[in-house]
Symmetry: C2
Subunit: 347 residues, 2 copies
């Protein structure tokens, strides 16, 4: 079968690899209908040491179950399923609490412990299928596939930002970042009832989509100018909630500059830093709450599904190009050069 492998920074290849197959009684074999490239795939694309490759790529997928291990009970051959970016047993205390990313027996496609499976491929073995995949009631050729695919990561991640941030009716929310997660954080904030949604981003095509998703204001400035602009838009005191969907330190610094006293910064951009300001001058003095982390997207799929199925929301609009699997390297390059927002791959 064909699969996307990364050999090192900037070196992505689609190659023939041994066919995926069931290895554990809890596995499912899924033939991908669609997969995609994530902003976080660009981190190894920038920095991966060839000595640690090649690794199979891809952690967001939707596809048809082709076979299941003997222990799998919740899905069966022929089901169309969403495959989230983390796999989880569905039974441990963290899964039961809805924090599947901390599953005691689970993992992530990209955690370095599973280099031989990935979703940018024709098919894949999915570990812990019962606790991981979710059946969706549409056909594999449905026009809803792109939107359903976002349930594997970016929509659930944007939703997680808003939920952890405590967004509710009347909230003033600022979203930092106009990537797919930032735009879906806007959509999620809108769904949760936010009154004012300020999107900080400078790519007009993206911020225009953000406005369609619910942004009431767009701020293109960054740093001190961006902070001043948000303060002016929020009556001088800042934003109740800040959803940080970038992951770089300047975005974090912007976040505590614009958050209102007593407010919340919710991060879902994977931090590319470890130390940052948290003392009296940044968070403590203003009673600011810092929250967020990897999204337990598995916990949100059933909840977010109905509005996709009935057409209320179209999160799949974040895909601004669709390529064949064999063009995956072109897709990486296009996203890296910011020519494309998010690339869908059709195996």
């Amino acid at each position: 079968m064909r699969a996307t492998l990364m050999y090192g920074s900037g070196d992505v290849r689609v190659e023939d690899v041994p066919d995926a197959r069931i290895e554990q009684p809890t596995d499912a074999l899924v033939r991908l209908t669609a997969a995609c490239i994530c902003g976080s795939d660009l981190h190894p694309y920038h920095s991966m040491d060839p000595a640690s490759g090649p690794v199979h790529m891809g952690h967001e997928g939707i596809g048809v179950v082709e076979d299941t291990g003997s222990d799998v009970t919740t899905v069966t051959k022929g089901d169309l399923v969403v495959v989230p970016f983390a796999f989880s047993d569905g039974t441990c205390q963290f899964c039961r609490e809805g924090l599947q990313v901390s599953c005691e027996h689970g993992g992530m496609w990209d955690d370095g412990r599973h280099p031989n499976i990935g979703l940018q491929a024709e098919a894949t073995r999915v570990p812990l299928a019962d606790g991981t995949v979710v059946k969706v009631p549409v056909a594999a050729d449905s026009a809803l596939i792109p939107s359903l695919l976002t349930l594997a990561d970016v929509y659930g991640t944007g939703h997680h930002a808003a939920v952890r941030g405590g967004v509710g009716p009347g909230s003033t929310v600022t979203v930092i970042g106009d990537g797919a997660v930032g735009l879906l954080a806007v959509l999620s904030a809108k769904q949760l009832g936010a009154e004012q949604i300020i999107l900080m981003g400078r790519h007009t095509a993206r911020t225009d989509l953000g406005r369609e998703f619910g942004a009431t204001d767009v701020v293109a400035e960054r740093g001190e100018e961006g902070i001043a602009a948000v303060r002016e838009l929020t009556g001088g005191h800042g934003s109740h909630v800040v959803l940080e969907a970038v992951g770089h330190l300047p975005a974090y610094e912007q976040a505590y500059g614009i958050v209102r006293p007593g407010g919340t910064i919710s991060r879902v951009g994977v931090p590319q830093y470890e130390d940052a300001p948290v003392g009296f001058a940044s968070l403590f003095g203003k009673n600011v709450t810092l929250t967020g982390g990897p999204a337990p997207v598995r916990a949100y799929i059933e909840q977010l599904l109905p509005a996709i199925l009935d057409g209320t929301v179209q999160p799949g609009r974040v895909f601004d190009t669709k390529l064949g699997l064999d063009q995956a390297a072109d897709g990486y390059r296009a996203m890296d050069e910011r020519r494309n927002l998010k690339v869908l791959l059709r195996p």
Copy 2:
């Protein structure tokens, strides 16, 4: 009148100063029944530059209203009132939300902008009296005075830690620090229904009082050993809530070491650091929430008062010595040398 002044690090003097008097129509003149020395008073005691002194000291008090400005309506001559560590107008948007420490027109006794007023004195001018002081229905010679005095700071601060930490029925809570705030965080966690309360501290007299306040376990170890001990006490995964009542970086590092995935660190120890770990390895990867800040104790007084009045709780037990005002310098020394937990001063 007599008042406590700090001239520089280690140099505390009780001296004759001009009598306190009404200056603004919103002021009250309060004659102190009791005041006390705070752990945070030890920061300038360690580091104050004589060039920036002398300053009046003290930000926790209870006393009798002796006079009021023409605009004051909520208290009158003869009322016994608690005077919190921050003053606030009671009418701005932050005060109405219960975040009086961010009052648009308020301030703190120790914020450097009010060097000529302080509560370690015979009397003081209290700015913004209507939004600041709270009348309590006991006599000035009541045995409840020490407990009521804790409403000015340390009890409200411990309560704030627990509230912001989301402590509720069934919570597993770890309190870092056996000072007055840490012990009253234990008491507050108990009042809010925590099931397991682990107190990290090494002064047996203090941790014994912590057990009486509700601690179910005491861990004397620090650092990696302390983290291992708490993990063992919590079934391996750590504590739902960590209340950090110290303010030094090692306490913060301990906090993220013992917090459970998805849990909360609530800080009320004023951070003596600005940068600290917040990335994937510390907070983000575990979906940990970091919260807390200066406590809006004014917001909590009415709520915490009944259990003091009816004897359900005795937070005043944190005062392990009572000195006359003229012995304030001895009190600073005793607290600095950790011979006393918290010193009450009687003017």
